[in-house]
């Protein structure tokens, strides 16, 4: 920004980033595809698309062009609430920029059509050639230190480490030979699929490592109910979470980032070393030791591998990690995959092949995606759109961050615009009842001028005080399994007597 970059912020809320931006596009929650398609139509109308790139490196452009044709600027404004002139401005600046990136976080992915949202953005990058070049690209910003690494290591229902497809026989047999064991040939369930399987009674035993679904799941009452009904629940965690409290067996774990050795992978695919800085508490063991011990009791002697030995095995099986020895990770300050051999410096950005003539490998595919409003519709009974998210000083369900005394922390609030405060007659700090089609909570009100009328915001950081996920909807994206945390329909009710419910009084979640 200080060096002349332009920043556009597309967010239903006028966030801190939005205040720094050249322009803020305050769109209605869940209208991202309409915005992206309207931008595409405008880019095409103005002839700003990258014809040579489209012709050489992409497929499916004609169908895409037909798909976005109805999304005129006016239609875009109608569907998103963003003025047509701003959509046009962003479309033109994005298309004309010599380098441009689209970065996003959960506002794109916590929707019932999460993957479509992402595809709509990828379409824009393909349309303008803003991909596969230094400074350009599409960039999902990860919310946890190892979201990327978890997937890279095969913690996905359909992938073996290094994004190798479990249903690909040749790849699977490579792993089977190395592991001297057979691997189920079918992909498994993702998180949402597991809960559905619990509901159907097909999944009766669950082993959870480092996750707190009893508080983090959308429609959390249902999640609790399903976890309670299991034959056996095993939880491995470093903190006695709500989920751990429900478990039949708790395996106390060391903190992976400071009490054990290993690696994590950040948003830019940089694999970095985490190191043991201190001893874990007496009963806790590191994840690797627990897994090895579990295997031993199940009749498999895996020995006592070090983290580095496990990593070297991974390198022998995952070509994109092959060049990343611990020694190189130490001296190079981390390496970005793919890094196929020990002379390779790592890869700063992906998809450069799309600029080769002719393109090596498959062309990039335009996807036909249509706008679909959020599942939880706004009605007279539930007139307010609730979106959930995070605050700077807190992390997810708060089990880690509640341990430090942040001066920024205010506890859970229902953030609404001052206009809605007046409209519903609720004052700041007044404790109100918030109800969705799934449940209700009581929570104090806070005014936020960065919210537009009709939009409310809550976090999920304080589930012990306010269980926000009682309100959210378990409307899942069929492709990714993500729930639509970003869009619930709610109403606000004042508590009975006028004097009831100042936030300084005792109050509990209903």
């Amino acid at each position: 920004m200080h060096r002349g970059a332009k920043l556009y912020v597309v967010d239903p809320r006028r966030t801190s980033s939005a205040r720094w931006a050249h322009a803020w596009l305050g769109l209605d929650v869940g209208s991202d595809i309409a915005l992206a398609n309207a931008m595409a139509r405008e880019i095409l109308d103005a002839g700003l698309q990258h014809d040579a790139f489209i012709a050489r490196a992409t497929m499916g452009f004609d169908k895409y062009q037909d798909c976005v044709a109805p999304y005129t600027l006016e239609e875009g404004e109608r569907l998103t609430g963003v003025p047509a002139s701003l959509i046009r401005q962003l479309a033109h600046d994005y298309a004309r920029a010599s380098r441009a990136q689209l970065c996003w976080t959960l506002g794109i992915t916590e929707h019932h059509n999460a993957v479509d949202n992402v595809l709509a953005l990828i379409n824009l990058a393909l349309l303008t050639g803003h991909v596969g070049r230094y400074g350009s690209g599409v960039n999902p910003l990860r919310g946890q230190n190892n979201v990327q690494g978890g997937g890279d290591m095969g913690a996905l229902p359909n992938k073996l480490p290094g994004f190798q497809d479990v249903e690909d026989g040749a790849l699977r047999s490579k792993f089977e030979r190395a592991w001297k064991a057979s691997i189920p040939p079918k992909k498994g369930w993702h998180l949402t699929g597991m809960f559905e399987a619990m509901e159907r009674g097909e999944l009766r035993n669950v082993y959870i490592i480092g996750e707190n679904p009893a508080q983090s799941e959308a429609d959390v009452q249902r999640a609790m109910h399903l976890l309670e009904g299991l034959d056996q629940l095993v939880v491995q965690d470093l903190i006695m979470t709500r989920t751990a409290e429900m478990a039949h067996v708790v395996l106390p774990a060391a903190a992976s980032w400071c009490e054990t050795e290993g690696t994590v992978t950040n948003s830019e695919r940089r694999v970095q070393r985490v190191r043991k800085a201190m001893e874990p508490p007496a009963e806790a063991r590191d994840d690797l030791a627990i897994l090895v011990e579990l295997a031993r009791r199940l009749g498999h002697d895996w020995g006592h591998p070090t983290a580095e030995e496990v990593w070297d095995e991974l390198r022998s099986l995952s070509p994109m990690h092959a060049g990343m020895s611990y020694r190189r990770l130490d001296t190079m300050g981390g390496i970005q995959w793919p890094c196929p051999d020990e002379n390779h410096a790592g890869t700063q950005f992906l998809h450069a092949r799309l600029w080769e003539e002719p393109v090596k490998g498959p062309r990039a595919l335009f996807s036909v995606v249509e706008f679909e409003p959020p599942v939880d519709t706004l009605t007279e009974e539930f007139p307010i759109r609730l979106t959930t998210g995070r605050r700077l000083d807190s992390f997810n369900t708060g089990v880690q961050t509640r341990a430090f005394a942040s001066p920024l922390r205010r506890g859970e609030t229902l953030d609404i615009s001052p206009e809605d405060g007046a409209r519903y007659g609720v004052a700041e700090d007044e404790v109100v009842r918030v109800t969705s089609r799934r449940g209700s909570v009581v929570v104090p009100v806070r005014y936020d001028a960065g919210l537009r009328p009709g939009l409310a915001f809550m976090t999920l950081h304080f589930p012990d005080e306010v269980e926000t996920n009682r309100l959210t909807i378990e409307a899942n994206d069929p492709k990714s399994g993500t729930a639509e945390f970003k869009a619930s329909a709610i109403r606000i009710d004042r508590l009975d007597s006028g004097s009831a419910g100042r936030r300084d009084k005792e109050w509990i979640s209903a």
């Binding site: 910003l141 230190n145 470093l238 400071c258 994590v264 970095q272 070393r273 201190m278 430090f404 920024l408």
Partner: protein, 288 residues
């Protein structure tokens, strides 16, 4: 910095020895590349030089006054003396001025310069002379994460720059007041929790004198339990978001006592956010 091509090298004379250096070098870079040590206090690699402390002054032939090595770019044919009598006097006086007005006890680098240059701060006041003016003042403790002990502040501007354009862009603090009364402050000296501060602690990360210090460290030092000989420092990665900031954990008696971030780290150059800087308590929380 990438290696300079021969055409962009220029010749200068450093302490009577001619050397070729890249033309974009500062005198400080030139000296360091030649193995000549030049003292610095306000300068920090990766930040724009403030040229405020004046400890790095060197003598350049033809210049009426000494010049700050940290910010002056080399010029063809420059003849530089880094350890002349004039240079040593200026450095000694800078250290006398600082040591007589500021508490440097948590600034080992500065103390080393006091000794190296033979500064005698007691010349400005001792038992038989009126006490010299100092910046001594009560420690500001207004939150649970870090304290401001401005009796230790040498006004190097690093924290202001790190809070501002050089890193955080929060602009919660500025230099206020003027002259000897100049000090680092929030608007109207409001407590930090009422200010724009986002508690990233990047100001602590760049403070060279312990004026900005973790509350945990401040308290342990006060009760005498801070013991660096019992501490280890281990580099790891922050447990929170996907940025992947490097953390150096300072551990004493198997407890994390503070977190810093290496300034040469690729991802954020030593800067963190509130969670990375302060959010590690959970691994040693009683409930764990």
């Amino acid at each position: 910095m990438k290696p300079a091509t021969p055409s962009s090298m220029i010749e200068i004379t450093l302490d009577t020895i001619r050397r070729e250096v890249p033309h974009q070098f500062t005198l400080l870079q030139a000296c360091r590349s030649a193995g000549i040590e030049v003292p610095t206090l306000c300068f920090l690699d990766g930040m724009t030089p403030a040229s405020a402390c004046r400890i790095c002054m060197v003598e350049v032939e033809g210049s009426r006054v000494l010049v700050p090595a940290c910010s002056r770019q080399v010029e063809r044919g420059m003849v530089v003396r880094t350890d002349s009598e004039r240079v040593r006097l200026a450095r000694r006086m800078v250290m006398e001025f600082l040591a007589s007005s500021v508490d440097l006890s948590l600034a080992p680098g500065a103390q080393e310069y006091v000794n190296r240059y033979g500064a005698r701060p007691e010349r400005y006041g001792s038992k038989d002379l009126p006490a010299p003016a100092t910046v001594a003042q009560p420690v500001k403790v207004d939150n649970d994460l870090y304290v401001r002990d401005l009796s230790r502040c040498i006004l190097c501007y690093r924290c202001v720059d790190a809070c501002g354009e050089e890193a955080q862009n929060t602009f919660a603090i500025s230099v206020a007041g003027r002259g000897f009364d100049a000090r680092i402050a929030t608007e109207f000296d409001r407590p930090l929790p009422d200010s724009a501060c986002v508690f990233c602690g990047n100001c602590i990360g760049v403070c060279p004198t312990g004026a900005l210090i973790f509350k945990s460290e401040h308290e342990m030092r006060r009760d005498g339990s801070w013991d660096e000989s019992r501490q280890t420092q281990t580099d790891t990665i922050c447990p929170y978001c996907g940025v992947g900031c490097a953390l150096t954990l300072h551990v004493q008696d198997n407890r994390i006592v503070k977190a810093t971030s290496p300034q040469d780290h690729t991802v954020t150059g030593g800067h963190l956010c509130i969670k990375g800087r302060f959010g590690w308590q959970f691994v040693q929380a009683p409930e764990k």
